[in-house]
């Protein structure tokens, strides 16, 4: 008797379980089968009731773009759901400028959503949207959609498209239109004003949690500014109005598509974007700001200042904020001091410039460039410790006195004590014979010095005379199974030189005619006639040594990993006879 009850009970449970599983499976398959729901950029969780202490219903998953589309079909636009403030800026919030109390907010959503849906029903729309009483059509759990969006930042090209646009009105009396977006708060006038050449990035004031007098946080500022303008353009029936949906800016695939288009456009422009009209410097002399020192204190030892090609780096980065982070108004050394400061997140100047794994440091960014297949063949094989190689310091930290040595260098006679804080980057006594060059204190003077030093950099890749490069190198020390391999040595060198021809990073950093050779002839001093591979990798087998490859492996590792890194499909690493001809017996 007791057993029967138990069996009945158990099978009941099992039945319920099976039902639940089936239902679940059904729901799951529904989600995954509609590709759109694999992650939506336009999904907004309406958690208006977040202010309430108790949750009354599951949050609503609102699909913004689905609504925008339908409204467009009905001839309506953003104004159907969003109101404008006194200045005509459209509110980021639904049907309101400010948030009322929680229960009022709830009513606001309920009344306005359902009112529109009811109208739709009256107009006999096929899918009018949930009506009053159909609570669970909006308040669904588990949530049927997932959110996936990317940050919709402005890169250089998008920025250019805006300031180049005729649709955006020009600033008063100027032929630029920057003032239409960039503004500053004037304390005295208590209003937003535009100051030319002092434009800031939006993020500098509109943070996630803005401080008075800034009102709008970042997303409110962006959406208010961008959407209002795009909408106005649309109303004016301009030929292009900019996106009014979410996915165009925040959709992953859409963003990629846009970037591809931009790349095409850049190519049409010969790869050069016009420079931003902000009066930014062409060249900057980067030197540490000296801390306040007591009279009798010894100065800290510093490196020579670094002439920085600002103009060139504008082209090489995606946006100013890649280097300038939050604000354009201070230079690197304002926040990144020698000892580190709170403003600079306690990242010292040395780290800010040299951290090898940070995208915003010089070395880190240059390291990233080395991943380009043209460079990776050599660079991927080079051990990279946590520090850049010491030998490369002098490439950036140039002794300005080379100007005195060069025939085209301008001799200065205005000397000061400033050089005391500079340590010689070269310790081999190759100090200039003449008087040291003064590092000017004023901005213009420093920029001019930086420019002169930059101008001394090689304009094209350096290389020894072609006939000095061995043509074909026969590798026969390993030939027992196969015929000797013939390494087209000169051809390899020349094709690599060809690849780095137009790369200013490469031409500046491959500073001598034999630097290139180091890609293969590593660990040996720079020389036109570097020691042969055998001098270090002398044994065929690894016997008796640990880690340093024997000759056979050294050749194979070097050639094959270079080919792999450069993306050369042929010859396949396992196709022995493409390099070593089969031996005829």
């Amino acid at each position: 008797m007791a057993y029967r009850k138990l069996v009945l009970g158990l099978s009941g449970c099992l039945f319920v379980l099976v039902c639940v599983l089936f239902l679940q499976a059904d729901v799951m398959s529904m989600i995954s089968s509609s590709g759109k729901d694999s992650g939506r950029a336009d999904l907004i969780m309406i958690q208006a009731i977040a202010k309430q202490t108790t949750k009354q219903a599951p949050a609503v998953q609102f699909l913004h773009d689905a609504h925008t589309e339908v409204l467009a079909e009905q001839g309506k636009d953003c104004a159907a759901c969003h109101i404008k403030d006194d200045s005509g800026t459209i509110s980021y919030k639904y049907m309101r400028l400010e948030d009322p109390a929680a229960n009022r907010l709830k009513d606001l959503y309920h009344d306005n959503c359902t009112a529109c849906h009811a109208e739709n029903a009256k107009a006999r729309m096929a899918n009018p949207g949930p009506q009053i009483g159909e609570c669970r059509k909006c308040h669904v759990e588990p949530a049927p959609h997932t959110q996936a969006w990317v940050s919709g930042g402005m890169d250089n090209m998008l920025h250019y498209i805006h300031w180049d646009s005729d649709l955006i009105a020009k600033d008063e009396g100027k032929d630029t239109n920057c003032g239409q977006c960039h503004h500053e708060y004037d304390e005295d006038k208590q209003e937003l004003v535009y100051i030319q050449f002092a434009e800031e990035g939006c993020r500098s004031c509109h943070t996630a949690d803005p401080q008075e007098p800034v009102k709008a946080n970042l997303s409110e500022a962006f959406h208010g500014q961008c959407v209002t303008c795009h909408l106005e353009n649309k109303e004016a029936q301009a030929e292009r109005n900019g996106p009014l949906d979410c996915a165009s800016c925040h959709g992953g695939p859409q963003r990629l598509e846009m970037q591809a288009k931009f790349a095409e456009k850049l190519e049409e422009m010969d790869g050069v974007l016009p420079r931003l009209p902000r009066n930014q410097p062409d060249a900057v002399l980067l030197a540490a700001k000296l801390p306040e020192l007591p009279e009798d204190a010894t100065r800290p030892t510093l490196m020579y200042p670094v002439p920085f090609n600002h103009e060139l780096h504008e082209q090489a980065t995606d946006a100013c904020r890649d280097c300038h982070h939050e604000t354009l108004k201070s230079s690197c050394t304002d926040c990144h001091t020698l000892q580190g400061s709170e403003q600079g997140g306690y990242i010292t100047l040395e780290r800010a410039m040299h951290a090898p794994d940070s995208k915003s440091s010089c070395v880190g960014c240059h390291n990233e460039m080395k991943q380009d297949p043209s460079c990776a063949g050599c660079h991927a094989a080079m051990p990279q410790g946590t520090e850049p190689p010491a030998s490369s310091c002098a490439l950036c930290h140039v002794n300005p006195d080379i100007l005195a040595q060069r025939p085209d260098g301008h001799q200065t006679t205005d000397y000061a004590d400033y050089t005391e804080m500079l340590i010689p980057a070269q310790t081999d006594g190759r100090q200039p014979a003449g008087e040291p060059v003064i590092v000017p204190e004023d901005k213009e003077g420093r920029a001019a010095l930086a420019q002169r030093l930059i101008d001394l950099r090689p304009k094209e890749a350096l290389l020894i005379a072609e006939e000095d490069i061995p043509d074909v190198v026969k590798i026969d020390v390993l030939a027992d199974e196969y015929q000797p391999a013939e390494l087209p040595h000169r051809k390899i060198v020349m094709s690599m030189m060809e690849k780095m021809k137009d790369d200013s990073l490469a031409t500046s950093f491959h500073a001598t005619p034999v630097t290139m050779c180091q890609g293969c002839h590593h660990n040996s001093p720079l020389s036109k006639t570097p020691p042969s591979c055998q001098s270090c990798h002398d044994q065929r087998s690894q016997e008796g040594r640990l880690g340093r490859p024997g000759l056979l492996a050294a050749y194979h590792i070097q050639c094959m990993s270079c080919h792999a890194e450069m993306g050369l499909e042929k010859p396949a690493a396992t196709d022995c006879t493409s390099c070593h001809k089969q031996k005829e017996n």
Binding site: P356, D357, P383, Q384, G385, T386, S541, Q542, E543, L546, G547, P549, G550, L552, A553, H556, I557, M560, A573, T574, C576
Partner: protein, 364 residues
């Protein structure tokens, strides 16, 4: 049964411990203590170097005089099929497709520091040698193939095709050839054109691996497989792809086999008796070794299942007993309560009776 008493029993039975004679005393002292192995040789396999040329397979075949393979060594198509070692192939290279292109990994006996095969073998056919090789002695092997079940890496295989003198076959780390002076390095290591394998003292290999991690940040999963797995192995792996994606089990934990198997053996002693019979039966029916392998796996699974079942039953019994106990307690309590209530009632009745008696008396 406790591990100590199990081992003691085995010792008493004349079977001897797993590898007592040759292993340094410090290593023997406790399964957890591997200090004695640090300078013994090992092989470091660097997965970022292997190009999948199968030269190591060829070399292994040559130095061990193994039969010609079905698929010749210059056929690289075979790499895409997932292969395991067998009685005529001590090492195989498998190809794994990853988002960043194909990755190859060589597979052979890992020459565990505390080998599961050895600890499971009650005739001591397996011995860990001071040169790191886990050696197999076919003259004492009784063919129970316990080692095959015990090895977490599925390495030892059996010569099913040999009716009279079948042996357990696996990579020997070229121990015999190197001891006799015929080879200076294991055959595969010697032949690899990429030096994807390096032979040397295990501690130095660990250092070398770490140096590579430091010199090439981002290239490696910064972990050395075999450093701790199963209590450590003489064969070590570094890789650019997560180990589980190149067919290395990451669920093995860091306990050595003797620590683990001793408990397992103690828990299912019946298997020791039944196993040879069982396998004999299987051998008779199935000549094809793949089939057997599959079956063996199933056997292992069902053995594990049986063990789990037994455990579950035990648990069930225990909880039933507990339930019964608590039910009994409840009944007891109920009874006590009932008795108490009954007594109280009785008392009240008595009192009432007495009262009425007095009343009556008073009324009188």
């Amino acid at each position: 049964m406790k591990r100590r008493s199990f081992l003691g029993l085995m010792g008493a039975a004349g079977a001897g411990l797993a590898a007592p004679a040759v292993v340094p005393a410090t290593a023997r002292a406790a399964a957890k203590d591997f200090r004695g192995y640090h300078t013994t040789p090992g092989v470091l396999f660097d997965g970022t170097r292997c190009i999948g040329c199968r030269k190591c397979e060829l070399a292994c075949n040559k130095v061990n005089s193994l039969p010609e393979p079905e698929v010749p060594f210059d056929n690289l198509e075979i790499l895409t099929t997932r292969r395991r070692t067998d009685s005529a192939t001590f090492t195989v290279v498998n190809k794994f497709e990853t988002p960043s292109g194909p990755v190859y990994r060589k597979n052979q006996c890992n020459h565990c520091l505390e080998p599961a095969c050895a600890s499971s073998c009650f005739v001591s056919a397996f011995q860990k040698k001071p040169d790191s090789a886990v050696d197999y002695d076919d003259t004492v092997c009784v063919g129970c193939r316990y080692c095959m079940i015990a090895c977490p890496f599925e390495i030892p295989t059996y010569e099913y095709h040999k009716a009279f003198t079948p042996r357990v076959m696996k990579c020997t780390l070229c121990g015999p050839q190197m001891r006799s002076g015929e080879l200076r390095l294991p055959g595969c290591v010697q032949e690899c054109p990429m030096e994807a394998m390096i032979y040397g003292p295990r501690n130095e290999l660990l250092n070398l691996a770490r140096r590579r991690f430091a010199a090439f940040p981002g290239r490696y999963v910064e972990q050395i497989y075999g450093e701790h797995e199963m209590g450590g192995t003489s064969w070590l792996y570094i890789s650019g792809t997560p180990f589980s994606q190149v067919g290395l089990r990451e669920d093995l934990g860091t306990k050595s086999a003797p620590e683990l198997t001793a408990g397992a053996l103690a828990a299912v002693p019946v298997v020791v008796g039944v196993w040879p019979v069982l396998l004999g039966g299987i051998y008779a029916i199935n000549k094809r070794k793949e089939k057997i392998a599959a079956q063996e796996q199933q056997q292992a699974v069902s053995a594990a299942l049986a063990k789990a079942k037994a455990e579950a039953k035990e648990n069930l019994d225990a909880s039933l007993a507990k339930a019964e106990e608590s039910a009994n307690r409840r009944v007891d309590n109920e009874v006590k309560k009932a008795v108490k209530e009954a007594l109280a009632k009785k008392e009240e009745e008595l009192k009432a009776a007495e009262a009425s008696a007095t009343d009556e008396e008073e009324g009188k």
